[in-house]
């Protein structure tokens, strides 16, 4: 799960947390005449590194918590694999009736599906619990995160970290592998290199979406479903070839909410299929740029949301 690490890493970097003010470095402590002060190291920790570290710590605690209910963990992980699997089974069933979907064959659709579902699975594993933020604000436990010396975004992202979501990734990777093995592609170095880049970029785009959704919950605390509509809804949309949808939908998904860069645009390039919107050739290599842009915007949204919380105390 190399991508996981990388995705998380760079994701958090771009989105590094806002609230904390300037540097997290600990300045000199005011003189403490009476007490033996705690040894405070003057070391300066970058918010990014600190975020990743704390994310790891908290995620580890959740994993250990889940392991106290081992049977339940195994069952839900298996269930996760199974239910996401059914998703693809539905596609396969569809292809038992038709030979192609908007001109795309089953392996090609599997390839699209695999790219999107893997990217989404990684994002879901690392940032997928951000929809509990609203609940945390309502019951007041969000405040306990704010009094810890760690970036809030990292704490929220790691909240309810659940390894059972590996079920989804496993299933997605299997479908992707099937797609890669069966599609008829003339693999060039560029196309091969593009694959991991696309996966990481896609995961980042979804992470940004999760983060933006979480930020929106500062405005509307019961908006978790809105977020799910874009994340889960988005990945479902991407599992079908773009030609299935009307041009306006494709335009929206390309230019407004640029989910198309998760798999449609690079996928069309790799498979040598025309993209319905006639994008320039380099667009297939744009996913990292798009991902960086999304992360930056999501980071800004998160900062704004957090600032709003701290001034309204909702």
């Amino acid at each position: 799960m190399d991508e996981t690490g990388r995705a998380t890493g760079s994701g958090r970097g771009a989105l590094s947390e806002a609230g904390g003010g300037p540097a997290p470095g600990r300045g000199p402590v005011a003189a403490r005449p009476v007490l033996p002060g705690p040894a405070r190291r003057p070391a300066v920790f970058s918010p990014f590194g600190e975020g990743v570290r704390v994310y790891g710590l908290i995620a580890g605690m959740w994993v250990r918590s889940a392991m106290t209910y081992r049977a339940s963990f195994l069952l839900t992980a298996f269930g996760n694999l199974l239910v996401t699997g059914l998703d693809f089974v539905a596609l396969v069933l569809m292809f038992s009736q038709v030979d192609s979907l908007a001109g795309w064959t089953l392996p090609e659709v599997a390839f699209l599906y695999g790219l999107s579902a893997t990217a989404f699975g990684i994002a879901d594993l690392t940032f997928g619990s951000m929809d509990v933020l609203g609940a945390r604000m309502r019951d007041g436990s969000f405040d306990t995160l704010l009094v810890r010396p760690a970036p809030v975004l990292a704490q929220v992202a790691a909240d309810r970290f659940a390894l059972r979501r590996l079920g989804r990734i496993t299933q997605a990777v299997l479908v992707l592998a099937y797609g890669l093995l069966r599609v008829d592609v003339d693999w060039t170095a560029a196309k091969v290199l593009l694959m991991p880049v696309v996966l990481v970029s896609g995961a980042l785009i979804f992470c940004a979406l999760f983060t933006a959704g979480a930020a929106f919950q500062f405005v509307a605390q019961d908006a978790a479903e809105v977020q799910n509509a874009f994340t889960y809804g988005g990945t479902t949309l991407l599992q079908y070839p773009p030609g299935v949808f009307g041009k306006d939908v494709v335009r929206g998904v390309t230019f407004v909410l640029p989910l198309a860069f998760v798999n449609w645009v690079p996928g069309a390039y790799v498979l040598g299929r025309p993209y319905p919107l006639g994008l320039p050739g380099w667009a297939a290599f744009a996913p990292p740029v798009v991902a960086a842009g999304c992360c930056a915007l999501a980071g800004l949204a998160w900062r704004a949301g957090l600032r709003m919380y701290r001034s309204t105390g909702s």
Binding site: G37, P38, A39, W62, R64, A71, D139, R160, R310, T312
Partner: protein
């Protein structure tokens, strides 16, 4: 396609089970070491050398939006904290009390950096909390009485290990602190017990230990004894006393329990409607409280204040409920008889002096004067 619902089998860790609603209040405190001087009005206003917590005309205004109809909303400005000024010296233990909704919780949230003040100046250990929240976090400890920060499904010691690493507590210091806290809070047999199996009192002790592992200079305790049985309360208080006397930690404590204050705090601040109503030694508060009892009467509808025979008088009216103060030395019987005879009395109770009574009395004593400006102490 969304497979993933809530937490599978696992219960909710961070929040733990007792994640009640938002708890009400916080506390602010801080004395200097053991014999903290009682600070009356005189002490204030002077140069604030050694002031560890400093509030200067701090205010917090919320915009409350209320739905008044379909798509119609009404905006209302609520001053949760209004022109609040006080200082707390390093090592002081201060009780911060007031009725629900008085602004205690908001004050604590501003002191911890959770909320940004709308106005005024606020410093804790020289740091502006809302701007440098993360840096400040290393130096403060917070215990929310009704909300545990311990990990529900994991042994108690695991939560401490997390603190160890999250706060980057040096190993030797962590071990020393843990040993000390385990001994003083009697946590030894509980360390390997999953938090969900702890009693409320055990969990509170566990939470307090978690908040102190990183040697915070100030500890905020929000209702630390709420819901605890007598023995657990005594344990928590004993420990806090030791903390005050031996470690010199500044403690700010909110509570509804006057005994907490009696046993722990040399200084009390009473806040109501976002304003400081009283700031001074416990003795003054106690006197004020003891001098009168309160008769609470529920009438069957809203009425103007009851016409009570002196020295009894109405100190507060809230809908059909009215509060009458009368000297502790006088029997309540004639007063009750008279009200029962002349008013549609539904229910009544007599309250021995407590914090609510003190506040009620302050209303009476200070009238609108209180509304005009800063802390006045009752002697």
């Amino acid at each position: 396609m969304a497979v993933d619902g809530g937490p599978g089998g696992a219960a909710d860790g961070i929040t733990g089970g007792a994640a009640g609603g938002r708890t009400g209040d916080g506390a602010v405190g801080g004395p200097e070491g053991a014999a903290s001087a009682v600070r009356g009005d005189a002490a204030r206003g002077g140069p604030s050398d050694g002031a560890f917590i400093e509030l200067d005309r701090v205010e917090k205004v919320f915009d409350v939006r209320r739905r008044t109809g379909f798509l119609k909303r009404e905006r209302r400005r609520v001053r949760a904290v209004d022109d609040l000024s006080f200082t707390v010296a390093r090592g002081e233990t201060v009780g911060y009390i007031g009725p629900n909704g008085a602004g205690k919780s908001t004050t604590i949230k501003m002191l911890t950096g959770i909320l940004t003040p709308s106005g005024g100046r606020l410093r804790v250990a020289g740091i502006e909390p809302s701007r440098e929240r993360t840096r400040l976090a290393q130096r403060i400890g917070v215990v929310f009485g009704q909300r545990t920060t311990l990990w529900w499904d994991l042994p108690l010691v695991d939560s401490y290990r997390l603190m160890h690493r999250m706060y980057r507590i040096p190993d030797a210091r962590y071990r020393a602190n843990l040993d000390r806290l385990v001994e003083h809070l009697d946590l030894g047999p509980l360390l390997d017990t999953p938090v969900r199996q702890l009693s409320l009192g055990q969990r509170m002790r566990g939470d307090i230990a978690a908040a102190l592992l990183h040697d915070p200079e100030v500890l905020y305790l929000d209702e630390p004894t709420i819901g605890l049985d007598v023995i657990s309360k005594a344990r928590v208080r004993d420990f806090l006393r030791e903390l005050r006397d031996e470690r010199g930690t500044t403690v700010l404590l909110t509570t509804h329990d006057l005994q907490d204050i009696e046993q722990l705090c040399s200084r009390v601040m009473v806040i109501d409607h976002g304003r400081l109503m009283y700031d001074g030694p416990l003795a003054g508060l106690h006197e004020a409280g003891e001098s009168e009892r309160i008769l609470v009467v529920d009438l069957d509808r809203e009425l103007p204040p009851v016409d009570a025979p002196a020295p009894a008088r109405v100190v507060k009216v809230e809908g059909p409920r009215q509060w009458l103060a009368f000297p502790s030395s006088v029997s309540a019987a004639p007063l009750v008889a008279r009200i029962a005879a002349e008013y549609p009395l539904v229910d009544l109770s007599v309250r021995e002096p407590d914090i609510e009574a003190v506040i009620a009395r302050m209303y009476a004593g200070q009238g609108n004067r209180a509304a005009s400006r800063p802390p006045t102490s009752i002697a």
